[in-house]
């Protein structure tokens, strides 16, 4: 026996050595290492979008990926180490696609090494890890030619986004040129240059345009265009007041040819009004901007319903505008934004100023995804009521109980809004003048004569709105509204109807009647004001710098980025959402809410009524000149109302608690069953086995 001892040891040592070598080869050096991704969405495999981007790399200009990950165990936390390995696996996978065009270099920038200097040089961000000032690095620099993109630090919590981030960076360095964004607006959103001869000061462009110019080439597109340059990848239409059919047709064809469109329309555009009457420094003529805008034919083809004479009011999300609560100035919380959409994902709150509502008419082949929605306590009110809200409270308002779509994303295969070909050529447009003449264009068809626009121009509003101009100063005289609103029957509609009669059956050779691809995209916002500087930015009291008041600008830029990124990136992006929610709990919540809604709504509306009474009481005292002095009767009434209000909020709270209780009960049951059922079963079986054993031994 003792002789076999050394043999056993030797064999053991040899076996262990072999096993260690196998592990070193596979684990340490990555030979023969395979991964089998068994997730349904292929979360850990390259998406077709990424593969497409990689296939577009120019062979003469390879992409170098420099991956920096500290690996010294002394400094690198275990969690980051294993994440770094995942990243490396992904990068290896990417490089495997075509090693001749994608060069992967790995660096281990540990403290006090040359590689650390290299990481710094590449602007990879160091994270101080201990009191000795040691830094760790986990970042990627992607370079092609002279263009470089850096992902400074990879956060493990953002793993679902990792592939997208890398794909986007690669896409950016290999793209020959920056995307061109076209901006079409009846307002001087692009600013206007300074003109010496009439001593007009130049107007600064809107901040959204300034921001766009940093990342894209921004081109001005005239709102009277009859063709949109195919070089433009995204067309942003801001407030297309009095748009002509010809221009709509141009947008239509631009979209069908693969362009993407972001449209901002508004039933009541305060900013548009504030430009009215101001002088256009380019022409010296007074500027006329319609306060309402619409894309009547396009919306119809896209399956969007939109009432340009109605504004959304919402008593739950209402906010203060011009010093008073205004139900048309909405502050939308996170819950009102589409949670999963890349445009709105992660945004905190969005302002929505006197905008309209969209409805989904479900056009064939087009999917409409709401991006922002109002609360259930909202409804549409007329423009004149909306305008009056600046000076009077909203009375007699009852929410419709339905959410209104305030912005939406449309995907799919679009059909032309002009299946019969381009609309009949209107009279030659005169591009120098603003929207007023524009409206005269469709007059080729029998339409009611447009209101004489210049009358509407208010001489008392000589505004060159500086970016920070408070919206209140732009208050229009309410009387101007009726004249500004175009006749309810949009001029375009009769033309469209009349078109078949005299239109030529021959379509122009380049006319498209439907999208060339199925991934056309349009984003529609039913408000324009929300993207104006004063509604999106505020001045920081401390530093005097501009700070964001809300997520309006990020949302806009997200949309542009999304639409300009090309379909490849979108495909990668959409995969990032890996979470699968408990739909059942949501369903239960909905059911419970349905059960309690009538009661809740009743209480809420009563509470609202009391609040309004209090408001009215306060108002009368304010207007009487003697501020805040109430006579005893009023005092008493006020106190009663106040205590009522407290009462209501208590009742509401109770009801909400009750609501949660039902769900909590189900949850508790599930938990009890899960934790206790199986152990009990095991105990029962064990007990039975013991009994059987005992009886069998007893029998013996």
């Amino acid at each position: 026996m003792s002789r076999s001892q050394p043999l056993a040891w030797t064999i053991t040592i040899v076996i262990v050595a072999i096993v260690v070598v196998i592990n070193l080869l596979v684990g340490g050096m990555g030979l023969f290492n395979g991964r089998l991704d068994v997730t349904q969405d292929g979360l850990y495999t390259l998406s077709p979008g990424t593969e497409k981007i990689l296939s577009e790399i120019n062979p003469d200009q390879p992409v170098t990926i420099r991956f920096y990950a500290s690996n010294e165990d002394r400094v690198m936390p275990q969690q980051l180490k294993s994440y770094a390995r995942n990243v490396q696996d992904l990068l290896t996978e990417i490089a495997k696609e075509d090693p001749s065009r994608i060069i992967l270099e790995k660096f281990a920038p540990n403290p006090d090494t040359d590689e650390e200097d290299k990481a710094r040089e590449d602007r990879v961000q160091g994270m101080q890890i201990n009191s000795q000032g040691d830094n760790i690095y986990l970042g990627i620099a992607i370079q092609s030619g002279t263009k470089k993109e850096v992902l400074p630090f990879l956060n493990p919590t953002e793993e679902p986004k990792l592939e997208y981030d890398i794909a986007r960076a690669i896409n950016k360095v290999i793209s020959a040129k920056v995307p061109i964004i076209g901006v079409m607006s009846t307002m001087p959103v692009q600013g206007s240059p300074m003109f010496q001869f009439n001593r007009q000061r130049g107007e600064a462009p809107w901040v959204i345009v300034q921001q766009l110019r940093m990342d894209y080439e921004v081109r001005d597109v005239s709102p009277q265009s009859d063709k949109i340059d195919a070089e433009i990848s995204v067309l942003i239409v801001i407030h297309p007041g009095d748009i002509s059919e010809t221009t709509e047709y141009a947008i239509d064809q631009f979209l069908l040819k693969g362009g993407r469109v972001i449209a901002c329309v508004d039933p009541l555009c305060w900013i548009g009004q504030s430009y009215n009457g101001g002088q256009d420094p380019m022409t010296g003529q007074s500027r006329i901007v319609n306060q309402t805008s619409d894309l009547p034919n396009l919306f119809k083809a896209w399956g969007i319903g939109y009432q340009k004479s109605e504004v959304v009011a919402d008593t739950r999300f209402q906010n203060v505008l011009g010093g008073r609560e205004n139900a048309t100035a909405l502050q939308l919380p996170k819950t009102a934004l589409a949670e999963k959409d890349r445009i709105t994902e992660g945004l905190q709150s969005v302002s929505f100023i006197s905008g309209g509502a969209l409805t989904n008419l479900e056009a064939e082949g087009i999917t409409l995804t709401p991006l922002m929605e109002s609360s259930e306590q909202s409804d549409l009110i007329s423009i004149s009521t909306a305008e009056s809200l600046r000076t009077e409270p909203l009375v007699g308002f009852v929410g419709s109980g339905r959410k209104k779509i305030l912005a939406a994303q449309l995907n799919g295969k679009f059909k032309s809004a002009f299946p019969k070909g381009p609309p009949a050529k209107p009279m030659p447009p005169s591009p120098e003048t603003g929207g007023a003449q524009e409206e005269a264009q469709p007059a080729a068809a029998p339409t009611p004569a447009p209101a004489p626009k210049p009358q509407a121009a208010k001489g008392d509003a000589p505004k060159t709105p500086a970016p920070t101009a408070p919206p209140a100063s732009a208050a229009p005289a309410p009387t101007s509204a009726p004249t500004l609103v175009p006749p309810p029957a949009p001029a375009a509609a009769p033309t469209a109807a009349a078109a078949p009669a005299d239109s030529k059956p021959v379509l122009p050779p380049d006319h498209l009647s439907e999208s060339s691809s199925a991934d056309s995209m349009v984003v529609v916002f039913a408000d324009v004001d929300m993207f104006y500087d004063a509604f999106a930015l505020g001045r920081d009291q401390l530093t005097g710098g501009m700070i964001a008041l809300n997520s309006n600008l990020p949302m806009f830029l997200n949309a542009v980025e999304l639409l300009s990124g090309g379909g490849n990136l979108l495909a990668v992006r959409s995969r990032a959402a890996t979470q699968r929610p408990f739909t059942k709990i949501d369903e239960m919540r909905d059911d419970v809410e349905m059960k309690y809604r009538p009661e809740l709504e009743k209480l809420q509306s009563e509470a609202d009524a009391v609040a309004q009474q209090i408001g009215a009481l306060k108002l009368t005292t304010d207007q009487s000149g003697q501020n805040l002095v109430l006579d005893p009767a009023q005092q008493k009434q006020m106190e009663e109302l106040m205590s009522k209000q407290v009462d209501f909020s208590k009742k509401l709270r109770e009801l909400r608690k009750q609501q949660n209780k039902d769900i909590d009960r189900t949850k508790s049951w599930l938990m009890a069953l899960n934790i206790l059922a199986m152990p009990l079963l095991v105990i029962v079986i064990g007990g039975m086995m013991a009994l059987i054993r005992r009886s069998s031994t007893a029998a013996h």
Partner: protein, 252 residues
């Protein structure tokens, strides 16, 4: 030859497994395991509040720590008991090789863990009822979890081959499993770097590669990684080889 191997292994397996079924230890361990996995998932992992129809975060996350303690409890009697009662001599005088005995016993203990994992099915049913989970990560999660349990069990088997006291075996095995689980943690690595001379860097690299945890989480996310599977299989294999070595040294 192979047929006889299988027959022998099967005989040992039956004997060992029926002794598990007949001892209260099995039931106690199963109950503790089920209470622990579910309790951690629902109370600490807040499974129902996470609104995430997957088992990775709330459920599988805790498994390694449970195995560190419970796998040795299942495996501690594998050989210690035989040593104590002296039945190991008897067993090995039978016309079976030590290797067959080792594999047979290990499989019996492995079956206990299979039963334990099967009994966690209520949480799978719950997650399917509440949402629409991705089946892939659930399957790989169970595979990873089972491999982890087997690795701990194999380590325990090796330890038990060297000792005749179940208690000593349990404590030493827990310590080993704990070490293997924690080995990648910076504190331990620091200590290793300090005690090893400069050339030890690669040794430390290798040692941190040995960490069980490192190989567990990625698989539980829904990716079967060859290197991780190979790692666990190697650990099990080496531990069983060491068990054979322990038996041989005891007998000599």
């Amino acid at each position: 030859m192979i047929q006889r191997d299988i027959k022998n292994i099967w005989a040992i397996y039956k004997r060992e497994f029926s002794s598990y079924v007949n001892s209260p230890v099995l039931y106690v361990i199963l109950v503790i395991f089920l209470l622990a996995t579910m309790g951690f998932a629902f109370l600490f992992g807040r499974f129902l509040d996470q609104n995430d129809a997957s088992l990775v975060q709330a459920f599988f996350f805790w498994h390694p720590w449970i195995y560190v303690v419970l796998a040795p409890a299942v495996g501690m009697r594998l050989w210690s008991e035989e040593h104590r009662l002296g039945t190991v001599e008897l067993l090995l005088t039978m016309p079976i090789s030590p290797w067959q005995a080792i594999v047979g016993k290990f499989k019996a203990a492995a079956t206990v863990w299979l039963i334990a994992l099967v009994l966690t099915c209520p949480i799978v049913i719950t997650v399917c009822y509440l949402g629409d989970p991705d089946p892939g990560p659930i399957i790989t999660g169970y595979i990873a979890s089972y491999l982890y349990a087997l690795a701990c069990l194999a380590v325990t088997s090796a330890v038990s081959a060297f000792t005749r006291s179940q208690v000593v075996c349990f404590i030493v095995s827990v310590a080993f499993c704990f070490l293997f689980t924690l080995i990648g943690y910076p504190g331990i690595i620091d200590w290793l770097i300090n005690i090893l001379p400069a050339w030890g860097e690669h040794v430390v690299d290798f040692v941190s590669y040995l960490s069980f945890l490192d190989h567990f989480y990625e698989m539980s996310k829904g990716v079967l990684v060859v290197r991780d599977v190979i790692y666990f299989v190697s650990v099990i294999y080496v531990a069983l080889v060491v068990t054979g070595l322990g038996l041989a040294s005891k007998r000599s």
